[in-house]
């Protein structure tokens, strides 16, 4: 088998929620050995689920991506297959250890000594309470690369602020910049684009630091303040203010660069939004040439052949009318048929795809995007695939989403060299587990 780009690199994953686990997943996809130490006595909300043992009511009221457990029951070990997180566990290893005890910390210290990277994105102060600092890590391993991803940074007035991706996006301006142009910002849905950006850049940071270490031998402490990291995504709003002192406001689905038409239009729907069966097509015209293509695709209707609409200025002036006319054209047509028709005429267009429909998309099937995996207690399902295709060092599921403590024996015995007897001692002291404590809700 061909080597993987990060083969032989070991990463300790002390991550929570999304931004951290996404970064370590990308590293694992590229072949790093990512190991998650997990504490079976401490529940970290929003890491293997909102609850260790979610009440049936939670399953009902939470959105599908929170409450959609296998067959709509929590099952015996819900932490192994919470839909909010399970996909991020691919290609990783898990072992259990109680880091609040001296012997638990010693286990971690020994693991640090033979690892390359420690990655964490806990609330500021969490690791300090456990005595896990850069100095402590460096004593165990001088070459260690320690990546910390606090929300607002570990200094300054907001250092202690608690945040998920959604909150720091509010602070960075995104929540006031996005959404319908005629609606109050409270109609915005919670999104986590900051977790995406910080996760991907975190993987980049690790690799940049590894590259540096290969040349100099130096490890280091990297701080990714998630809020600062997210700023890039709002470049046009920040530059508009920086260059011209002007504030932007939401424009819905219109093009930020003022090219018309650009919107989401209704398509023929098998049902309503209440059951997620409404359908929409996204169309964005960026050039006069593409406008011509759209007009042709619509069958050259009289209104669209108006020469006044041949230029962007003309279309901008009558944007609302054009949107209405396009909607009349799309309303009774199938969204996929519209995509093919419009694309054949050189117009960027695609359905606004509800997630269940990706599994029947012929393009994703042709590219073999999904991967069938079995998770104990959940059964066999298709998981989303990797973000890129590497032909010579393929990115695959080397290992299905990892269950709690799945690699206890591997880590304690094989990696750290503890004897069978010692392993049983760790078990007696409560370190070895495949379940969270029964009294954790």
């Amino acid at each position: 088998m061909s080597p993987k780009p990060l083969e032989g690199i070991r990463v300790i994953d002390l991550c929570v929620v999304w931004a951290g686990p996404f970064a370590t997943m990308l590293l694992a996809d590229l072949g790093a050995e990512v190991i998650k130490p997990e504490n079976p006595h401490v529940w970290q909300p929003m890491t293997r689920g909102a609850f260790a043992r979610p009440p049936q009511a939670y399953l009902m009221f939470a959105p599908a991506w929170g409450g959609g457990y296998p067959n709509n029951v929590p099952g015996e070990r819900p932490w192994n297959y919470c839909p909010t997180f399970v996909s991020l566990f691919r290609n990783k290893k898990s072992f259990t250890v109680d880091l609040r005890t001296p012997e638990g910390k010693e286990v971690l210290r020994r693991l640090v000594a033979i690892s390359d990277v420690v990655y964490e994105n806990n609330a500021t102060g969490t690791l300090e309470k456990l005595g896990i600092t850069y100095e402590w890590l460096r004593e165990a391993n001088e070459r260690i690369i320690f990546v910390r991803v606090p929300a607002y940074g570990n200094s300054g007035p907001y250092a202690e602020a608690r945040a998920l991706g959604i909150h720091l996006e509010a602070v960075m301006g995104h929540t006031l910049l996005r959404g319908y142009e005629d609606a109050d910002p409270s109609s915005n849905t919670a999104i986590y684009s900051g977790d995406y950006l910080a996760g991907a850049q975190g993987a980049f940071a690790v690799m940049a630091a590894l590259w540096h270490r290969e040349k100099t031998g130096e490890g280091q402490l990297i701080e990714i303040a998630q809020a600062e990291n997210a700023a890039a995504m709002f470049t046009q709003a920040i530059m508009e203010y920086s260059l011209n002192g002007r504030l932007l406001s939401p424009i819905g689905n219109r093009d930020i660069f003022g090219r018309y038409p650009c919107n989401v239009y209704p398509a023929k729907s098998p049902g309503t939004a209440e059951t997620a069966d409404d359908r929409w097509i996204a169309i964005s015209v960026e050039t006069d040439e593409q406008w011509k293509g759209l007009v042709e695709a619509m069958g050259n209707p009289d209104w669209a052949r108006d020469p006044a609409l041949a230029t962007n200025e003309g279309r901008k002036a009558r944007a609302a009318e054009i949107d209405q006319r396009i909607a009349e054209f799309t309303r009774e047509r199938d969204d996929y048929e519209l995509m093919h028709l419009l694309q054949q005429h050189g117009v960027p267009a695609a359905p606004v795809l509800e997630a269940s429909r990706m599994f029947s998309d012929p393009h994703l099937r042709a590219r073999n995007f999904f991967r069938k995996q079995t998770v104990e207690g959940a059964g066999t399902h298709e998981y989303v695939g990797p973000l890129w295709q590497f032909p010579a060092t393929p990115v695959e599921f080397y290992q299905p989403p990892v269950t709690l403590g799945e690699h206890n024996e591997y880590v304690y015995k094989e990696l750290l060299g503890f004897s069978d007897e010692q392993y049983e001692e760790f078990r007696a002291k409560g370190h070895i587990a495949t379940e969270f404590d029964p009294d954790i809700p």
């Binding site: 061909s2 080597p3 990060l6 931004a19 909300p45 959105p63 991506w65 929170g66 959609g68 997180f85 200094s155 007035p157 608690r162 991706g165 909150h167 509010a170 602070v171 960075m172 301006g173 995104h174 929540t175 910049l177 996005r178 319908y180 409270s186 109609s187 919670a190 995406y196 993987a203 701080e223 700023a231 890039a232 995504m233 046009q236 920040i238 203010y241 920086s242 504030l247 093009d255 930020i256 003022g258 989401v264 209704p266 997620a276 929409w280 996204a282 960027p348 695609a350 997630a355 599994f359 393009h363 994703l364 590219r367 995007f369 399902h381 998981y383 695939g385 010579a392 060092t393 809700p441």
Partner: protein, 404 residues
Amino acid sequence: MQALDDLVVLDLTHHIAGPYATRLLADFGADVIKVEPPWGDPARRLGPFLGDDPHPEKSGTFFYLNCNKRSVVLDLRTEHGKRALAALAERADLVVENFAPGTLDRLGVGWEFLQRVNPRAPLVSISNFGQTGPYRDYLASELVIYGFAGEMYSMGETDREPVKMFGTAALFESGAASVVACMGALFAAKRFGIAQHVDVSLAETHFGGVDRRHATAIAYQYSGRKTIRAASRTSGMPGGIYPCADGYVDFNNASIRYDRVLDMLGYPDWATDPKYQDPAMRMNPEVVEEWNLHFLQWCLERTKREIWEEARRAKVLCGPLFTIEDLFHDEHFRGRGFWATVEHPVMGKVTIPGRPFIMPKGGWQLRRPAPLLGQHTEEVLREAGVSEEDLRLVLADARKEVSR
């Protein structure tokens, strides 16, 4: 010294996602040679523009995406242009491109050409839907990519159309995913001598992305449930976005630590009702609505900054909805030295968001502003040993376009 300062990157990208990926490489020291056609990267025609003047050297979008790079103008349709490209490829450690699939091959400068010229250098190709498959040649945009592949379907009000993120946020996400692919390709080349042609599909960077889609997809596989489009105001107590005295505050997911919410509120009678302690009740929309009536009053009596201060003290999840003006002048980010300013020959002093992360050894530097179109053609081509004759022809191509 910077982490990536031993790398030369031949950058054949344009618009947003590709240039963002190579900008990050340049930020950490790589010598990124940006090849532009004589008419320039189309991002030069994207706003916002300094003083609203749509000048190719005054685009804020282009500026942000191309700092720290050098610009070389080449017409790849000409033989001398191709020879100059070969000279650049020869010294490159990595080539990145985001033309429509097949374009480089049609020009005769695709993967096979690059392998011939420099078998050590991997190629990362970024495209809308990937280099293979039935949609290979389909066009896309921020809206089309995010609508199709991101979790846009469930964003917005149930009885309205789905609504996207701001600006080109999705393309920035794809750019960040692409730089990870670039580093992966570089590591495979450096450690194992494997140079490969990596295929990055913008759509797949979202289909497999962390912002909800991985979860909505597996939730459907697991339970048959679909994620319905809904604003986030019904997700707990408190949950969602609330108006306050001078704006709005976001309390999504704050309900997971109700003990801290009580601390933030100072344990008022209305909030200490035992029924609110039951996590199942906290998911019940009727109970949430009753609770919200009280909470709204509490919010409306306070400013967004006052509320955030209370939330920070009690360690409650919260974020005030800042404007870019609030953000730009905020003392926290100023005090941490986040913003960066650089002098540009046409735009003057320009302030942009600074480092994406703090890396004390070999870390981020703003070494130069975005390049003028073709600013470094002569300098870079001389370094690459391009013949005087070809250099003369290349420079003439660039001038022709400018005089048009």
